[in-house]
Symmetry: none
Amino acid sequence: MIVKSETLGSRGRRTRAALVQAGREAFEERGYDAVRVDDVCARAGVSHGTFYTYFGSREELFREVAATVVGEMFTASVVGPAAPGDPYARIEAANLLYLRAWAANSRLVRMLEQVAATDESFRGLLLELREVFVRRGAEGLRRLQEQGLADPSLDPRLTAVMLGGMVEHFAHVWLDLGEHADERTAVATLSTLWARAIGLTPAPSRDPLPAPARTPEQAQAQKNRIVDVTSVSTKGAGA
Amino acid sequence: MIVKSETLGSRGRRTRAALVQAGREAFEERGYDAVRVDDVCARAGVSHGTFYTYFGSREELFREVAATVVGEMFTASVVGPAAPGDPYARIEAANLLYLRAWAANSRLVRMLEQVAATDESFRGLLLELREVFVRRGAEGLRRLQEQGLADPSLDPRLTAVMLGGMVEHFAHVWLDLGEHADERTAVATLSTLWARAIGLTPAPSRDPLPAPARTPEQAQAQKNRIVDVTSVSTKGAGA
Amino acid sequence: MIVKSETLGSRGRRTRAALVQAGREAFEERGYDAVRVDDVCARAGVSHGTFYTYFGSREELFREVAATVVGEMFTASVVGPAAPGDPYARIEAANLLYLRAWAANSRLVRMLEQVAATDESFRGLLLELREVFVRRGAEGLRRLQEQGLADPSLDPRLTAVMLGGMVEHFAHVWLDLGEHADERTAVATLSTLWARAIGLTPAPSRDPLPAPARTPEQAQAQKNRIVDVTSVSTKGAGA
Amino acid sequence: MIVKSETLGSRGRRTRAALVQAGREAFEERGYDAVRVDDVCARAGVSHGTFYTYFGSREELFREVAATVVGEMFTASVVGPAAPGDPYARIEAANLLYLRAWAANSRLVRMLEQVAATDESFRGLLLELREVFVRRGAEGLRRLQEQGLADPSLDPRLTAVMLGGMVEHFAHVWLDLGEHADERTAVATLSTLWARAIGLTPAPSRDPLPAPARTPEQAQAQKNRIVDVTSVSTKGAGA
DNA sequence: CATGAATGAGCCTTCATTCAT
DNA sequence: GATGAATGAAGGCTCATTCAT
């Protein structure tokens, strides 16, 4: 009889948490398929029978671990409301958080992708995770477009998928495949590429070019305009 | 007692090829860990025992399949020498090929990543694969920089890693996770983002400011055009 | 540390009874081997641990359930002392009770047989159960033989085993295997067969040859009547 | 991959047969639920992995064993066509065969009943087994009724179920529960009871009573007639 | 007395690998 | 070379039983 947290006394709660933690470590270290239920139990210091008091299978444990990780990533990646008004700085701040969220969980998210490829029931969690980041990126871009600071002809969602993917993928290459870079440079470069890619324009007040477009025609016109990234913070950027 | 093709008579050669092909299909359909040696044998129409005449293990078969796939991707992604002189068009052509190479092998490359995460000996193949694309992208960028067409402050390799990752990742999201997009739009958007991100400047002779598009067709056509980033300031972005 | 009822306070007595009842239901529904101690506990509304306060094992619980059932069968199958003097009517009354006793407990007695096949210690209970019915049947037959109403050459015990078995077995086939029959017809037929088989003779005073029935009702009524086997020769069938 | 006999070479055929035989013995000795796959393998002298080459589970093995046993019982219980013309002698012959068929397989048939109680898919086999015997008995009775040798008012099927059950049940009590009797006496008594129960009349030619009834009315009348079993062979009957 | 968490023996099943034919 | 039968290590899971609270 598998038990959820709500039902448990403090002893059970502790055991369950120990299994989740042990599972998380084991998955990170060995990969999904290589993890044996007994590995997890040994790590958690319980007998393998106990495992089945709390989870019906390794898969179920992974579901819990994955949900935990996804939750953490949501939390960790929220740009505080007091973010700087400077759009570039906001992009940079977001990229830093994004990269760090991935730094903490890259392996597990890859695992989630792997499991989702086979097991339909994990697909949902994965899509949920991606959706949050995509939506956040798309909304940020839309806001900039509305403020006339970004190319209005870009499809916000598609752009967010692509540029978000750039950050996500770099995190993987950087952390898991050993591509050499320091965090500062990485964030700066990612942010520069991102900002330029969306045609980020400096704030209107300092805009050396025509006033922000408001009509579709104007928007279209602006798409082909020069991007002034003069005031972008690129401290630390460099190879 | 693994046998390479060179040693074999035509019968053996055929059997071996059947196993590789069957393995490739099986891996694509079921994922690395779910593939059983028996699945492969059944698909290839040979008995269990025969498998071990040619391969020492499932892993060895996968190594062969992966090498084949990597080879195909190299071949498939080479931008013909008769590529258009227009830098943007070249970027677009490369992205199209890149995306298609992934369309054909996305699942298997993810699998390679998965196996590489655990098995050191696959790491090399994966890095090799990535390196080819990274180098190609970095060299392209360096050429543009040398021609004064791209921001010279960008680190070519790092930029190639990031922007290449963008394409690669998008291919995965698009094909494996069902993100909706048509190939044309995808390639156009990726290319626009890429071109702008590196600060691509049009060849001096080209019209830097086409009149604003009015019709959808024009808009679409224009979307895939060169971005005029002539006046972009990149001071502070060091190489 | 098994506790019998005598030792217990009223709370314990209630818990124990709940377990026995729950066990009985569980055994009936799922069969001996499929019953888990947990099933019983859940059904009785007590925790695992509590079970072992009262019973040392599932087997011990079954022993108690079986004893209860056997006791009930004894009670239920006693033909009242005010039974009609008519021997056929007594046979019929006995068969009705017998059949009903089985209707109530067929599944559990089969289970007892099953357990007894493996576990020597249950053999006794089963034999006891059978013995009561056999003895009762044998004594009935002996009385009829003494009264000159039944074939004196039949071995009372062997005959009782066989004809009792006929009823017992029919109950099983009827209830457990879905052989179609209504109780009335079943009892009438069993009784007719039984009566004829032992060569039952009607009491001298009774009409040995009622006029042939014409209506269905009469036919039905007559079907359950005594068979006149007065002149049957049984030479050669020794006792 | 489970293998049926048809597909196998002689080696496989031998192994499979050994498993079936070993399973049969194991089931007989220990009972269904107590049999472990490994017991069977050890007895058959193969590794437990081999078991799964031929059967998917213990249940599947039992299905095969049960089918084999049922087949044997069919074969073993056929009364040869050259059976004596004397109805009683035929009854006796049939009972002897019936009893012996059960003597050989009593335990396994009880097991089949047990499994069928839980597993719907075994129900069919059990009912098939019973049906063959019931039908055979019912047809025998119907023939006697048509010949005016047995009570025509008896429902042939119901009677066959009951009297067949008597034999079947006795076999169990005798063999499995240790009721003491020698085969001769048992068969003689069963046959006498059976013959009398159906109102078996001697051949018409020697019938001391009215000519056989042909109309319903006559049939009904005859039901209450005396059974002359004078000429019945009861050799060996006696305690 | 009751609870429910923990235990671990025991059984089931899969599948990579070997090997005689 | 090919075959397919046999092997047994490796893991999964269940459930009766114990025990501290």
